[in-house]
Amino acid sequence: MNPIGNLNKVFESRIRLGVMSVLMVNEEVSFNDLKEMLEVTDGNLASHLGTLEENAYIKVHKGFIGRKTNTTYSITKTGEKAFKGHLAALEAMIKFSQ
């Protein structure tokens, strides 16, 4: 078996992988908190979040705090499975090459 096949192309980006890591351990995270944790710019983060949303890996919740929009993100079941699969593949590859 060639474990390279199991690596998820979507997670090749460090930022997308970072977003998924944060969402795995936090129920719901706001755009601004994600930005701060991953140290990325607005535009950059937004485009990566878009990709993850297209793949149905994350869910977007649009809310308001007063009049300001407060967008939060959470992981979906599909996203969790994909992320765990990717981690398993990474681990397998490390063992494979040892």
Partner: protein
């Protein structure tokens, strides 16, 4: 993509997971500072109590209580000041934000038991149960630490357990409240702070 890159990626994931859930910049030196403030405060309180010839009795003598409250307030300010200052310094050295999502979780989880305890103790004071103040301080503070332990350095839970245990012992040994208070807020803080400093800060943070 080679093995080293995969290892780096996994380390990265672990680091991001930890940083997004736990506030790791709590400083041991801050604990030592808080402990020293508590011991100084306890000394003044002891001085005041023995001067009043009162021992530590469940009598509500308004003047005495208000002076003790003044000392307690000063200790609280000094302890919080030391804690915040050293934590801020550590976070800055690590290049981490001081007030991020994880720090807010620590704050809220500390605040709920602490504010509850504070109001509870005000009630005790109002009714003159002076002897119950020290055990209550210790128990509520211990619960706050255990509660916040989920979102910061896990070791802080052990300090929490120790404070709770000490508070319960103090409850069954009333009239030695100040002694247990000094032990819990002074000695334990200094001990905990020193251990944390030794464990995590002695070698300058990367």
């Amino acid at each position: 993509m080679n093995e080293q890159q995969h290892l780096d990626t996994l380390t990265d994931i672990k680091r991001i997971m930890e940083r997004s859930t736990r506030f790791m910049s709590l400083s041991g030196l801050g604990g030592i500072g808080a402990g020293v403030s508590a011991l100084v405060g306890a000394y003044f309180a002891w001085d005041l109590l023995s001067a009043a010839g009162e021992g530590y009795q469940p009598v509500s003598e308004t003047a005495l209580v208000s002076r003790l409250l003044l000392i307690a307030g000063a200790v609280l300010l000094a302890a919080l000041g030391a804690g915040f200052y050293f934590t801020w310094r550590k976070a800055r050295r690590q290049g981490l934000p001081v007030w991020d999502a994880a720090a807010r979780k620590v704050f809220i989880n500390l605040a709920i038991p602490l504010v509850t305890g504070g109001l509870f103790i005000l009630g005790l004071l109002k009714h003159g149960y002076l002897a119950l103040v020290a055990p209550s301080c210790l128990v509520f503070y211990g619960l706050a630490l255990v509660n916040a332990g989920k979102y910061t350095v896990t070791d802080i839970r052990y300090l929490g357990y120790a404070e709770i245990a000490l508070g319960i012992i103090a409850l069954f040994n009333l009239y030695h409240g100040l002694f247990f208070w000094a032990l819990g807020f002074g000695v334990l803080h200094i001990l905990y702070g020193a251990i944390m400093w030794w464990k995590y800060e002695r070698i300058p943070a990367e």
